[in-house]
Symmetry: D4
Subunit: 151 residues, 8 copies
């Protein structure tokens, strides 16, 4: 009976990394189930008020939305075997760093993905990781090695 691994993909939503990792997993036939936050940006922003009622104050609109999204993200992180967090060069992505800290405190193995020029800014996050990579394909190689023992 083959054990399946749960891998959660947190962070940057403006590049195609979240498609390339599952594509690589499929190509490598790895026993991995991938999960992620809702990456439809406007759905994610609107979910709170659309379902639970409009807010005139932007703070509470954001609050409602972020808490609804947290139902998903915290549940999936708690069920993950490995958490991958990618940081891009745009936006502040504090939610990505929050997820990394949350996962670290739960003892989840962390893989961090970012370009080299973010190294200094991400040093505290990288310091909590078991692997720091630059390209999504490296994550697939890591999973292939970690799960199947193949390089």
């Amino acid at each position: 009976m083959e054990r399946r691994w749960n891998v959660y993909l947190s962070g940057e939503i403006h590049s195609d990394w979240r498609e390339r990792i599952p594509a690589g997993i499929t190509a490598a036939s790895l026993p991995v189930d991938v999960s992620a936050p809702v990456t439809d940006h406007s759905a994610s922003d609107e979910a709170g008020v659309r379902i639970l009622g409009q807010e005139s104050d932007g703070f509470w609109k954001d609050h409602k939305g972020a808490q609804v999204n947290a139902i998903r993200t915290r549940t999936l992180i708690r069920h993950a075997d490995v958490v991958v967090v990618r940081f891009g060069d745009k936006y502040r992505q504090w939610n990505a760093a929050f997820d990394a800290g949350f996962s670290a405190a739960l003892g989840k193995p962390l893989i961090i993905l970012h370009d080299q020029d973010l190294t200094h800014a991400l040093k505290e996050v990288d310091a909590a990781a078991l692997a720091v990579a630059e390209r999504p394909e490296q994550v697939v190689e890591l999973l292939t090695y970690v799960i199947e023992g193949r390089l």
Copy 2:
């Protein structure tokens, strides 16, 4: 392999909300398993003494019954991914608030369901929730969004 979500429905037993949520889940084809306390009021009251022996003192009759019910409720709450608690306008429903506190301490995402006129009385409970809604259909919409990412 699709992940299924366990959702526990705690609280009010005098309206049809506990039927409307599973109906909505089925209609939306969500991968959700719903659980709940025993909602047959007299069975719930009688279970302790019927199985374990009559009591002359009402306190101990209630005690036996409540502890037997706790075997079910605490087990199901511990296995739940999300706990939904509904408060109605009748009765004191202290067990609903107890379940909310119990779930909060375990780190379970909480959805609280109640009419607007209970807002002030429920403020401490709502403050521990990730979503506060009024109608059962909103819970289905929340689950649809949280699990499938669809608004």
Copy 3:
């Protein structure tokens, strides 16, 4: 070196029970430190908006206030050795039942205090308690016995 016990008093704020327990503790010279939520009702309601900014919507006013109060209550409950929760005959007191559930999930010994006519309504809460009493003096007697071994 004498061990001191932390006892948290949650619940009803409309009778003098929270004064009678410390008075009894002092009279019995027990090594007990008592803590409690803020019991100044209007301060408790206003704290959120007074410190963090007004809200036009009552829901968010209550939310802010309840979360600020939770900083205190959750910290004190986590540090408590014993949690006492009193239910009175007025108001819904859902926060009291929430605190009882929260404490139960953390494994804290619970003492519940209420009049006999609330027995049926509180059966699930009582079922999680190690003692159910009616008068604050009984709590002092319990603490005297539990800590000093004197009846």
Copy 4:
């Protein structure tokens, strides 16, 4: 015997907020012990290589330094009753968001401090907080209320 509270101040190091909070605590005579990361920027960057040996590669220099700092920060966060995290308008401050996530997963009450224009970017972090404030003086007022019950 008065209980003392441990409050950890994480985040932004380019304004004087970390002096204003202790000053306010002293002025209000609160029983609070404040802790914080090392805020001497160059010491913090150099600590790893200075003590453990130089590195030619910037990544490993940062890694060594960040891990040495983590000995301090993780220990102090674990011992904190309340964690305050401030975000400024400069730099990415991913370590601040990391600390917020780490603290949230440990169940620590979180107070987040930032200007209003960061509200949308910080919505996931704020959603995990029990209070969101703009000025350090509000943190002192929160602690005064939470600990002493005074508004």
Copy 5:
């Protein structure tokens, strides 16, 4: 997808209660998987030395055997949803009481089974239980009610 319940049967091995409970579960078609310690008394006593090498000293023979049995019992108790412990009128059965304490500390719902004349001797164990019964059939009735809601 029906949830199955794991029920662990600890304690007395000299009556047929461990057969009567599974028989009742089958008759009632309950979704329950039953587990138990090895109840072949001589196998249980001999397992340690037979597999790991003889001992001349009785203490170490017992020690080896008891530790080998603990690999099974602790694993099964950790996986159990409900732990049932039966005390008979013969022998000291300290392992049964040990299992009850072990399960209680893990927060497992406990059902204790014994004759009335053991009530006083077992009061501390019973005090940690959610149900105290006399006959194995009552355990089946409890499971039927707890899982299916039927009395």
Copy 6:
């Protein structure tokens, strides 16, 4: 600043072992605080009904008493660094074995004290211990060695 050790003495109440251990600790000037259940047998039996109200049914009298005693014992065990449990040759002492199991599940180092003729009956309890001794003076020697490093 010398660290003090908390040692909890559970079990047999019909010999003088609970006096001999503190006497030995004092003689050896060890930094140890000793705690124990209430050992006044009749106080322990009567505490529940005397404080919380009489019961006509012996089961509930015992239940009330045992739960009141559990407020003390579970709190002290949770705070203990080391738990010592002594079994005598009289009575069933199921509470002693329960405490041993409870302590084992919490990861507390266990020292078990009993005569050699109980070895077989106590094998599962002994198997969870880090030391098995026969005389209280051995416990003092163990604490002297463990704390001070002196044989």
Copy 7:
């Protein structure tokens, strides 16, 4: 529904013990899923730098590799019901002892496997184990007994 057991095999990689245990499990038709670290020595050494980039400094090459391997080993140990650790007579095998300590702190039942002449050197590791054996066939016998109750 038969429960399957997860058994993790840590330690020595220079003898055929890791083949003999699964062979024995298959022969005995045990419901056991076996997992292990990557035992291809050069793959294990090279994985870090091959996937994440070369290092000139041996320390960082080893560090990268060991952390990548830790993604696998810590995940599998956390999911294991039983952890078996074998020590051979060559090399220092500190990772084996590290895994034993890691497993012990998580409360995993430990089986240690080594020749008699290592007894003194391994006494602290053995002291944390529930069984100490010399030959892989004994592990199969242990699993047969523990899972099926057969000697």
Copy 8:
């Protein structure tokens, strides 16, 4: 009120590193309490049999001794803020690696101390550490920086 740090020194007992660290702590006036296993080699070997009775079989003599020592070491590690483990070039020191794994699973910050020629053999242990140093003086410098922020 100055917070004191507990630092546990595990591992090698054949050099003077365990004296040099406290000497450095005293010289630097750090608020640190140092603890360690019993380092008197023969006392450590003899403690079990001397206190609890002789054994003819070397395995059980070692077992008794190692378990008695574990009462001390596990308690002190659980209370430590930081765990330092030193590996020397002699002996196998599996207990040192065991302590490192045990501490890692508990989330303790680890500092590993060893000469460069052990780097490859210790790579899995080092990979779990927040600092790897060669000389005891570096540990003092680390503590000075971590606690006081001084380089």
